[in-house]
């Protein structure tokens, strides 16, 4: 065990703080040694790392409350953590802080099939909800691609989405209530079994707040009846513009697909190599359009969507005629990330959202950035809701490449804001995108965020340094960006 120079603001040493926690938490679950702390040093975005002072794994809400009370009194930062699958370093530890793991809270407390609700501890895995609900012909809507591992508590913290958002919404649309423990250790429920609650919507405010406003200790979600049928159309196009128009065409026709995904040429080939999904390898863009509902509805809408794609220039169309074929067509898309991982030592996944009408412009601009930064980029895209996931390919062993990838990513996010979009659709800000917050928001808006946080966490112990940048930091970042931009403009006009 390490005894270190770590000390809290009020002067407690790491050992003393651990002693206090061990008075009410199983000593085995108060972790202080470097070897056991190590797995907690990062979340799914492993480029950002920090060792925590210590980790606790409480088993009851009362224990969580006591942890919060002690940390509040001692001014110790607290970083709540679910499965650690987040992609923005939102769960990266604070070096003078405590990681509060909710891993022990992994029970489904109740499924009410008649009311179509599930009451969950925060550490329940996203997919486990749907698996359990399936016994009653029900499922939970949001399905982030990490759903095998990610937890519902983390989903609340990030307002997670997935491929079905356009039709079934994000986490915020599928919650009834959450119980939180506040920074000061109070236990409160926000929301209710009713669909709407009195007064300002604190439930919406908490959803996506990245662990900065409270620690989620229980969640009640809505469940949906499982659609009778789902079928997917795969359509290839010889240009990204045509595929983009086809997305708009389907929606303009009055069809809201359950899922509507696009992949660019690089992603098509990588995915097809990876799992032989039978994708059209010469296509410049591929759409996967899934329609779900009753048998009659799916039949009607599939025929209409096929007609729209044909009219708008699809070069190939294939519609699943069995569950196995549907699974195969999706397999390519779902394994797009590992597939790209095979063609490059490392990749960096971005998460901007844009108004769909600017898709072609953004992709084109990204191609030219790719040349400028000397790094390849592949695109998978939640086309229905405008959420882009550019995968920047790089090699971390080549000095400077990660920095280039970061700069490339940063330029992509600025471009998203420029066309009226945002810097993060579903991954969150965390540490990763904290600089770009200054691009999307002005100082008055950021100050408003800080003031809102103070209402929940007056001493600022909950996940400090994440989500919202300090104003001083922003001013510095904007001025650097401005200089770089001017420099690039000058370079471009000379070139």
């Amino acid at each position: 065990m390490t005894t270190t120079s770590h000390a809290t603001k009020s002067g407690l040493t790491k050992t003393e703080l651990a002693e206090q926690f061990r008075a009410f938490i199983d000593p085995e679950f108060v972790i202080t040694d470097d070897e056991t702390l190590k797995p907690y040093e990062c979340d799914g975005l492993a480029m950002y790392r920090e060792m925590p002072m210590l980790v606790v794994l409480p088993e009851t809400v009362q224990q969580v409350q006591r942890v919060m009370r002690i940390c509040h009194e001692q001014g110790v930062p607290v970083v709540a953590r679910g499965a650690g699958t987040g992609l923005c370093a939102g769960a990266m530890p604070h070096k003078e802080g405590v990681v509060l793991s909710l891993a022990k809270f992994n029970r489904i407390l109740e499924i009410d099939p008649l009311a179509r609700t599930a009451r969950l501890q925060p550490g329940v895995r996203n997919l486990a909800i749907s698996e359990e609900a399936a016994h009653f012909g029900l499922y939970y809507g949001p399905d982030p691609s990490s759903q095998i591992a990610c937890t519902i508590g983390g989903n609340v913290a990030e307002n997670s989405g997935g491929v079905h958002c356009l039709k079934y919404g994000l986490t915020v649309h599928n919650l009834l209530s959450v119980e939180i423990v506040t920074a000061e250790g109070d236990r409160v429920t926000v929301g209710s079994d009713g669909l709407d609650s009195c007064g300002m919507d604190l439930l919406a405010l908490l959803t996506g707040s990245e662990g900065l406003l409270g620690v989620v200790t229980e969640v009640k979600v809505k469940l949906l009846p499982k659609p009778e049928v789902a079928q997917v159309i795969m359509a290839g196009f010889d240009s990204v513009e045509k595929a983009g128009d086809a997305v708009g065409g389907v929606i303009a026709h009055g069809i809201i697909p359950g899922g509507l995904e696009m992949m660019d040429g690089h992603a098509i080939i990588a995915a097809d190599d990876f799992c032989q999904a039978g994708y059209p390898r010469d296509a410049k863009a591929l759409l996967l359009c899934e329609v779900d509902g009753t048998e009659e509805e799916v039949h009607e809408h599939i025929a209409e969507a096929e007609a729209v794609f044909r009219k708008l220039g699809a070069t190939s169309i294939r519609t699943s005629s069995s569950e196995a074929e549907r699974a195969l067509l999706w397999k390519g898309r779902k394994s797009a990330f590992p597939a790209v991982g095979r063609i490059s030592p490392d990749y960096y996944c971005m998460d901007g959202t844009i108004p769909r009408r600017h898709l072609a412009k953004v992709l084109l601009e990204m191609e030219s950035m790719s040349e400028r930064f000397g790094l390849r980029v592949a695109n998978v895209f939640h086309a229905g809701d405008g959420n882009l996931h550019p995968l920047i390919l790089f090699d971390a062993n080549v000095p400077g490449e990660f920095e280039s990838a970061e700069a490339f990513g940063s330029a992509i996010l600025s471009l998203c804001v420029e066309v009226g979009g945002c810097i993060t659709g579903e991954h969150g800000v965390g540490v990763e995108k904290i600089r770009q917050m200054a691009v999307q928001f002005n100082d008055e808006e950021l100050q408003q965020f800080h003031d809102v946080k103070a209402a929940f966490d007056p001493t600022g112990i909950l996940n400090p340094g994440k989500g919202v940048p300090t104003l001083r930091f922003c001013q510095e970042y904007r001025s650097i960006e401005h200089k770089q931009h001017n420099h690039e403009q000058a370079g471009a006009s000379h070139g």
Partner: protein, 355 residues
Amino acid sequence: MADQIQQLQEQVLQARQNGNKLNIVGGGSKAFMGREPSADADTLSLAGHTGIVEYHPVELVLTVRAGTPLKDIEEALAAEGQCLHFEPPRFTESSTIGGTLACNLSGPARPWTGSVRDQVLGIRLLNGKGEHLRFGGQVMKNVAGYDVSRLQAGAMGTLGVITEISLKVMPKPAASVTLVQDMAMGEVIDYMNRRAGEPKPITGACWVDGKVYLRLSGARSAVEATADKWSGDVLDEGDRFWQQIRDMQHGFFSDAEAPLWRFSVGSTAPAADLPGPWLMEWVGGQRWYRGDASLADMEKLARSAGGQVSLFRGGDRQGEVMQSPPEALKTIQRGVKNSFDPDGLFNPGRLYSWL
């Protein structure tokens, strides 16, 4: 169509400087809601701040100034075959989108399509310092910063002046059928919930005067096939029935004397035994009761049904009209209010006596 942001901003700054309070008013159709407006506050009118700022049908996104009447919005959407599928109530022709969000009002389809809050993508807001801020955006997915846009739902203007709203809009359903049949209150809660658990295109479930009404809408073939399978008679003028429920023009709401209580509770909670009449909608999740009662007694009932109650219309509007939150949430709400409106300019006492 007018952008009056400058005047609005000046009025807020002026009020702040002079230490005055402001009652925010849109079309005035929801003046009966909340606690009585403060008598010594000036009026800040949004009625002239109107117009569609941007509308891209293919993006399913509409951006509109907060004072725009719902009827103007729905006309513009209908021309493109789209609608506000959360079916906002129009208590009068002047009901605005800003008031709809501030009061978080949604219509019969709410359990399936979500509420107005669910469809909000972004807002612009004048806070109590007179700063005109922008939150969220015009895209479906956006998790940068706290969700200040949806926070406004139900705040009744206590956090600032909503000046502009971006919303998700949806295609109008191709077909719609309403089925009606007699059913006792004791059976209907179970019945509606069972129907809502089937994967069918249901978008309305309401019980009133001993009859249950179910609405199916979506693709024509699906609506017709389901209507054939399910029991109940097809109601002529089904659309009119739902419009009357939505806008509170149905006979149930016509007795203006008796206080009207709104229960937002678990959809399967047993029916409460009270002497007055009930109307249930949202599969049982929203229940209206007409009759004299104390808020404290009604709160007990609502809590036992897993939800909350408010005195929606009539009765004593000088006392509290919303279910009281626990102390820790009061402290947080006071803090949130203070963060937006440090001088307590906006709608003092409208939501709670203590806010």
